[in-house]
Symmetry: C2
Subunit: 225 residues, 2 copies
DNA sequence: TTTGAAGTTTAGGTTACTCTAAAAAAATAT
DNA sequence: ATATTTTTTTAGAGTAACCTAAACTTCAAA
């Protein structure tokens, strides 16, 4: 029996699939052209071109004007890229001592390196990690991905406690904001007060009291404890 | 003062510069279009296009019909890529337990990842290695590259001894040929006999006697001891 | 139910890189 | 010195990925 490792998809195709995967997690139905364009910082017309091509390659189901859904093949390809991205992020933080806010861009390039053997050895070398430095689950070799029950900090009610398990956006500025306040994966948070007017919160982290906007609270995932 | 890290060169440009660098080491004068085409397995017309472009970018000195030479800028760029290639090869062998014949292709991709910080941390993580798994010297952070005095095994005379310090071609089949005979970097070799007719050799390696063709002997570098 | 705005696709163009075929220059042989 | 071969460049064309502008759908407000 021969395991046929066929020619891989282009860097661009992989980035599109990854983006569509992430948008599918949020949106309920099909993913729209405009949403993809916005997330990828490109033009809707370019997206149209690409999803037509992805459709022809059976990576997405696409009906004109109706947006796209990943096919099984497309989803698997996306998950493979995400697995590589997150494993490389772990490598950069654990082995090369990068900060969690410095690794995203580099992983964005490394995720396209094309060798099954490489990624399986890297996985083993890192001890088969289950989460990346931002708390996101890493698909295993069979592309199965853990679903952890987490909620946005903004969904917590007053006087509830939680443990930070991840962030929503991995924007550099945001991650540095958290670093400065010593908030990271595993940090315990207590909601002292919520401003009903704008949804901003007063939270306790260790011995510090922080006042955070709703936008910040909507980007931190916690497990309620 | 601002260290301007400008947009890097394309994957294709980097590969051309690297190839030209390697050809310059061998050839005396300018590097010819055809030589580049052959090494890169592409057409002379494509090479012509590219070297014109590299010339415009001041990466090579180019006079039509006269071939090219790297400029300082071009040589530095080539050395940066070679440094990355060889450091990644060390990583793959030392940390991920790849064999020396398995790493070239993967490094060929990794060498284009674009982050000074990444490569300087990788360098430190590996303990600032001086040679890659094939015995080739790794340019340091200032792009200075060690020149080791080495000769081809085929240049040795009868009854001379040497230590294997590198290989010329890194062809997979060739490296596997060496592996099978337990010949690697550091292996001690004794030239027992040389066939004057075809230049083939009988050599002693540990307790084994091998009969090798001139072509093989021309691909093994040794330091005479 | 019309109509306008928003969303999406198509048409046509650009750039980077590649190719084949033909033309031009250089090197080699006679 | 001239003719032939080899090397190199140019001309013209294709593909992937992107763009702007124009045309076309869809959907929701009036
Ligand atoms: Mn990417
Ligand atoms: Mn991440
Ligand atoms: Mn390369
Ligand atoms: Mn090497």
């Amino acid at each position: 029996m021969y395991l046929c490792v066929m020619k891989q998809y282009s860097l661009s195709e992989e980035n599109y699939l990854k983006t569509i995967f992430h948008l599918e997690q949020i949106a309920d139905g099909n993913v729209s052209t405009n949403d993809i364009a916005e997330k990828m910082e490109t033009k809707a017309s370019s997206v149209s071109d690409m999803i037509r091509k992805l459709g022809e390659k059976n990576l997405v189901d696409y009906i004109k004007y109706q947006g796209v859904t990943l096919t099984d093949r497309g989803r698997k390809t996306a998950l493979r890229v995400i697995r590589k991205h997150r494993l490389w992020e772990v490598f950069l933080v654990e082995k090369l001592d990068f900060q969690w806010d410095e690794v995203h861009e580099i992983a964005e390039e490394l995720e396209h390196i094309e060798s099954e053997e490489l990624i399986s050895r890297l996985d083993a070398y890192l001890g088969h990690p289950e989460f990346d430095p931002h708390g996101d689950p890493i698909p295993d070799a069979n592309l199965r991905i853990a679903k952890i029950e987490k909620r946005l900090l903004s969904e917590l009610r007053i006087h509830q406690r939680g443990i930070c398990v991840g962030v929503h956006e991995s924007d550099n500025d945001f991650l540095q904001y958290l670093d400065k306040r010593q908030i990271g994966i595993g940090t315990k948070v207590f909601v002292e007060d919520i401003e009903t007017f704008d949804g901003s919160m007063t939270i306790l982290v260790d011995d510090n009291r922080y006042f955070i906007s709703k936008k910040i609270a909507e980007n931190i995932y916690v497990q309620i404890t």
